[in-house]
C-alpha cells in the first residue's frame, strides 16, 4: 500500500498548498494579461501567471525549474524526509518544454539574420542551448534537494504530472526506492501561448469548465509535487499520511494528436483500469477531480467517459475542475490536481469548479459550484495529454483498507529489435550487423515514405517517422496493447526554431496550428501510438546522452511492474542544423577528414526494441530474442555498478559488452563490474555518437544474442553527467516451472 506523506504546490492562486487550497475554496480566478513577455499581438493574452518568481540564477536556471524547486521543497519538507535522509529516495519530474521561456531568448539571437548579430554573441547563444536539455529542471532539483538514488525526467504532455506519480508508484512496487518525490512543473512561454492561440483553444473570457458558454482553456503555470512511500515505512517512522494512492492507469487513445476521441471510450477504459487496480468500484468514489479544461471538445467527452464509468452513481458523485481558477498548467496539471485531490480527501471538503455558472446539458454531471464539506472515502483524478495520453489516479483516505490484488515483479524479455542508420534499415537478427555495416554521410538518404502509409503519416515529423518505422519493425504485427517509451534529450529543436522564426517574422496570428503539437517533446511517442494504433502507456523520457538507456530502463519498469504487457522503446537522433551548430561551437569543428574515409560522428539514426512480460511472450508465441536480466540505474553513485552479475563462464567466453559511445569513463565502470576484459563492440563508429546511441546498442545486443549461439550475455552501459545505466541481457532459455 502506497501513501502520500507530503504535498507541495505553486500556482497563480498561491505560493504553497495551503494558499492555493484556500483560494480554490473561495472560488477565486487568477486570470490576467500575460506580463512575462510583450504580447500585444496575441489574440488571447489572458493567462494564470505565478507572481514574484525571480528571473535568473545558475546557468541552467529556468522559470520551470524555479517553480518546480519551490513545490518539491515544500513536499519534501512536509514529508519530514529531508532532514536525516536515512532512506533510498527517488525523484521523478514531469515536464513539457522545460526551459522554453529562456530558450526562446537564446533562439531569438541564433535566428537573427546573418550579419545582424556579433558572431561571438551568437556562439555564446549556441553554447547556452546546451544549458536547457529537457532534463535540466530535474537536474537542478536533484542537485539542490538531493541526494537521490534514482532520477527520471518524463513527459507525456498534459498528463506528465499524473504519469510522474505512476512511475514513482512503480518504483516503490518494484522495491527500487523507499520513498519518491514526484511531480511536475511547467512555466508559461511564447511558444505555448502562440500555439494554443493558433489552435483556437483559448477562452478570451477565461476558462469556464463544463459551462454552456465555454470557449476554451486558459493557460496557467506552476508545479505540484508529492512524496510517496510504502504505508509500513511511514508508520514505522511515526509519520501520519495525508492520504493513500490506491490505483492508477496510463493508456493511450491512439486517435489524434490534438483532439480527444469524442465518445470518451479510451478515457473510460483508463478510469476503469485505475479503479480495478485500486480494488474499488464507482460506488466507492466520493469525488472526481476532472481534467475539465473548458475546451468545447474535452468537457463533453470527459462527461461521457464519467457517465459510462460511474453509471447510476453519476448523479451522486461530485465532479469539479480548478482549471477555471489557476488555469491549465499543462505538464504540471496532473500533479497540482493530485495535491488538490489529496487535500480534499484529508480535509473532507469537495472543492468547486470556479468559473462554472450555467452547466452545459452535454456535461450532465454532479457539478460543484461552492465548496462542500462531506467525507470523501476515495477520489479519482484524470489527466489527458496531447497525443491521447490518458492517465487516471485513484486516491483514498489515509486509513483506507488495502483491496488491491498483490503484484509481483515480472520477468521481461526482448521480442524484437530494429535500427535505422544512413546504411539502411535493420531488423530481426540482422540488427547484429549494424556495427559491421559502413555508411556514407551523416544523414539518412533513403526514402522514409516508402516505409509508411503516407496518408496516415502526413502529420509525422522526421523524428516521428524514424520512430514509427523502428517501433513498427521491432513490435511486429498484433501489438495493439503495447505502450511506447521515447528517449529524447532535447526535443524538437529544429521544429521549435522554425516555429519561433515564424513567430518573430510573421507574428502570433500566423503561428502554425499544425506544427505546434510537434513541439511537445512527447509528440513523437504520441505519433507512434496513433500511427501504429497502440493503446498502452505512452511517454517520453530524457537523460542527455543516455536518453536511449533511460528509455529502455523506463520501458522495462512499466512491463516488470505490470503497467503494460508490451512496450516499444525507441530513441531517435534526427539530422538537426541547430544541433550541428551547437556542437560545432561547443566541441569544435568535426576534424575528421571525410575525403580520407573518416566518418562524421553525429549521424542520423534510430534504435528500438520491443519488450514483453515473459509469460505474455510465451502465451502469444512471440519471438524471444533475449531475457532482460538486470537493469540498473543510478545517480551520482557509481558503486551501483558492482551489483552487475559477472560475465558467465569468465570474461573471455560468451560475454560481450556492447556500448553506444565509447569513453574512458566506461572502461573504469566495466572493470568495476568485472566485465573489463570482455570483448567490446562500440556502435558509434557506424551508427553515430548521439542521444539515441544507447538504444541502438541495446537493439544490437538483442540481435546479437538472438543470432550468435556462442554468446551467453551482453552488458550495455551508458553514463552522462550524474546518471548511469547498466543493462544486462542474457541468452533466453525457458525457466523450468
Amino acid at each position: 500500500m502506497i501513501v502520500i506523506t507530503g504535498l507541495g504546490a505553486v500556482t497563480a492562486l498561491g505560493s504553497n498548498v495551503e494558499e492555493t487550497w484556500d483560494r480554490v475554496l473561495r472560488g477565486d480566478r487568477a486570470f490576467s494579461a500575460v506580463t512575462l513577455f510583450p504580447a500585444d499581438d496575441y489574440r488571447v493574452r489572458l493567462v494564470a501567471e505565478v507572481p514574484d518568481i525571480r528571473k535568473d540564477g545558475p546557468d541552467d536556471f529556468s522559470r520551470t525549474s524555479e517553480l518546480g524547486l519551490r513545490a518539491a521543497r515544500e513536499a519534501l519538507s512536509a514529508s519530514g524526509l529531508d532532514a536525516a535522509r536515512p532512506k533510498r529516495i527517488g525523484l521523478v519530474v514531469g515536464g513539457s518544454t522545460a526551459g522554453m521561456l529562456e530558450t526562446e531568448s537564446t533562439l531569438s539571437v541564433i535566428l537573427s539574420p546573418e550579419g545582424t548579430v556579433d558572431p561571438e554573441v551568437r556562439d555564446e547563444a549556441l553554447r547556452r542551448m546546451l544549458s536547457h536539455p529537457l532534463s535540466a529542471p530535474t537536474d537542478r532539483l536533484a542537485r539542490e534537494l538531493g541526494p537521490f538514488v534514482r532520477v527520471r525526467s518524463l513527459s507525456s504532455a498534459c498528463s506528465s504530472g499524473a504519469n510522474a506519480m505512476v512511475v514513482g508508484a512503480t518504483w516503490l512496487e518494484l522495491g527500487l526506492v523507499d520513498a519518491v518525490l514526484c511531480g511536475a512543473s511547467d512555466a508559461l512561454c511564447r511558444v505555448t501561448l502562440a500555439g494554443f492561440n493558433a489552435l483556437g483553444a483559448l477562452d478570451p473570457e477565461g476558462a469556464r469548465p463544463f459551462d454552456r458558454r465555454r470557449r476554451g482553456l486558459t493557460l496557467g503555470e506552476g508545479a505540484g509535487f508529492v512524496v510517496l512511500e510504502r504505508a509500513a515505512d511511514a508508520r514505522a517512522r511515526g509519520k501520519d499520511a495525508v492520504c493513500t494512492l490506491l490505483g492508477w492507469a496510463a493508456q493511450a487513445e491512439a486517435h489524434h494528436i490534438t483532439n480527444p476521441e469524442p465518445t470518451g471510450d479510451a478515457p473510460s477504459r483508463a478510469m476503469r483500469a485505475a479503479l480495478a487496480r485500486a480494488g474499488l468500484t464507482a460506488a466507492d468514489i466520493d469525488y472526481v477531480n476532472a481534467h475539465g479544461t473548458g475546451t468545447p471538445l474535452n468537457d463533453p467527452m470527459e462527461s461521457r467517459a464519467l457517465q459510462r464509468v460511474l453509471g447510476d452513481e453519476v448523479a451522486r458523485v461530485p465532479v469539479s475542475s480548478q482549471k477555471g481558477q489557476f488555469g491549465h498548467t499543462l505538464a504540471a496539471a496532473g500533479a497540482i490536481e493530485a495535491t488538490i485531490t489529496a487535500t480534499a480527501i484529508s480535509r473532507g471538503i469537495v472543492p468547486p469548479t470556479g468559473g462554472l455558472e450555467d452547466a452545459d446539458p452535454e456535461c450532465a454531471l454532479h457539478h460543484v459550484r461552492r465548496a462542500e464539506s462531506r467525507p470523501i472515502r476515495a477520489a479519482m483524478s484524470s489527466s489527458f495529454g496531447f497525443g491521447g495520453m490518458d492517465t487516471v489516479l485513484v486516491f483514498g483516505r489515509a486509513d483506507a483498507a488495502d483491496r488491491a490484488a498483490p503484484r509481483r515483479s515480472r520477468s521481461v524479455v526482448v521480442t524484437g529489435a530494429a535500427v535505422l542508420t544512413p546504411a539502411g534499415i535493420f531488423d530481426g537478427h540482422d540488427v547484429a550487423k549494424v556495427p559491421e555495416r559502413d555508411c556514407e554521410g551523416d544523414a539518412i538518404g533513403y526514402d522514409l515514405t516508402a516505409e509508411l502509409d503516407i496518408d496516415r503519416a502526413r502529420r509525422l515529423d522526421r523524428t516521428s517517422r524514424l520512430a514509427a518505422i523502428a517501433c513498427g519493425r521491432a513490435l511486429g504485427p498484433d501489438s495493439k496493447d503495447a505502450g511506447v517509451v521515447l528517449g529524447n534529450a532535447f526535443g524538437a529543436v529544429d521544429g521549435t526554431s522554425a516555429f519561433m522564426r515564424r513567430l518573430r517574422e510573421k507574428g502570433p496570428r500566423l503561428a502554425s496550428p499544425a506544427d505546434f503539437p510537434g513541439l511537445v517533446p512527447s509528440s513523437p511517442a504520441g505519433h507512434v501510438s496513433i500511427y501504429l494504433g497502440l493503446a498502452g502507456p505512452t511517454l517520453a523520457v530524457a537523460d542527455l546522452a543516455t536518453s536511449g538507456e533511460c528509455a529502455v530502463t523506463q520501458g522495462y519498469e512499466l512491463v516488470a511492474a505490470g503497467e503494460t504487457d508490451r512496450v516499444a522503446v525507441v530513441a531517435v537522433e534526427e539530422k538537426s542544423t541547430i544541433v550541428d551548430q551547437v556542437f560545432r561551437v561547443v566541441f569544435g569543428p568535426d576534424k575528421r577528414d571525410t575525403s580520407r574515409g573518416e566518418r562524421p560522428l553525429r549521424r542520423e539514426g534510430a534504435g528500438a526494441i520491443a519488450l514483453a512480460a515473459e509469460e505474455v511472450a510465451i502465451a502469444r508465441g512471440l519471438p524471444i530474442f533475449a531475457r532482460v536480466e538486470q537493469v540498473l540505474s543510478w545517480w551520482n553513485d557509481e558503486t551501483t555498478i558492482a551489483e552487475v552479475t559477472p560475465p558467465p563462464g569468465g570474461a573471455k567466453t560468451g560475454a560481450v559488452v556492447i556500448i553506444g559511445v565509447a569513453g574512458d569513463a566506461n572502461d573504469a565502470l566495466l572493470r568495476r563490474a568485472g566485465w573489463g576484459d570482455c570483448r567490446r563492440i562500440t556502435c558509434a563508429e557506424r551508427a553515430g555518437s548521439h542521444e539515441a546511441a544507447g538504444a541502438i546498442a541495446i537493439a544490437v545486443a538483442a540481435g546479437t544474442l538472438a543470432s550468435d549461439a556462442s554468446i551467453e550475455a551482453v552488458l550495455c552501459v551508458g553514463i552522462a553527467r550524474g546518471s548511469g545505466y547498466a543493462i544486462r541481457l542474457g541468452r533466453y532459455r525457458a525457466r523450468a516451472s
Binding site: L199, G200, T449, I454, S512
Partner: protein
C-alpha cells in the same frame, strides 16, 4: 485572378502545406468534401491550418467557429469565399 486559377492555387497550397504527399493537386475535385470520408479526409486541425494559410497568402481573415463551416466545405467554397473577399477589398468594402 480567374476563379479557376484561384482553385488550382488553393489545391497546390493544400497539397504542399498539409503534406498530402503523393497526391496530384489537379486530381482534387472542385466540389469534393475537404473533411470526413469520401473526400480529402481532412480534420479540424487542418481547418485551422487552412484558415491561417488563407490569412497569410491572401491577407483575408477567415471567420472562426460555425461561420467557417460552409467556407471549408470544398475547394469551390473556399475559392468563392476568397474571391468574394478580394472583390470586396477591391471595392473598398471592409473584409472583417
Amino acid at each position: 485572378m480567374q476563379r479557376s486559377d484561384l482553385k488550382s492555387e488553393i489545391k497546390q497550397l493544400l497539397v504542399a502545406e498539409l503534406n498530402l504527399t503523393g497526391r496530384d493537386p489537379s486530381s482534387i475535385e472542385d466540389d469534393a468534401p475537404l473533411f470526413g470520408t469520401g473526400g480529402l479526409g481532412l480534420d479540424s486541425l487542418d481547418a485551422l491550418q487552412i484558415a491561417m494559410l488563407v490569412e497569410e497568402k491572401f491577407g483575408i481573415r477567415v471567420p472562426e467557429g460555425d461561420e467557417a463551416r460552409p467556407i471549408f466545405r470544398s475547394v469551390s467554397s473556399l475559392s468563392d469565399f476568397i474571391g468574394a473577399a478580394r472583390d470586396a477589398k477591391a471595392g473598398g468594402a471592409p473584409t472583417g
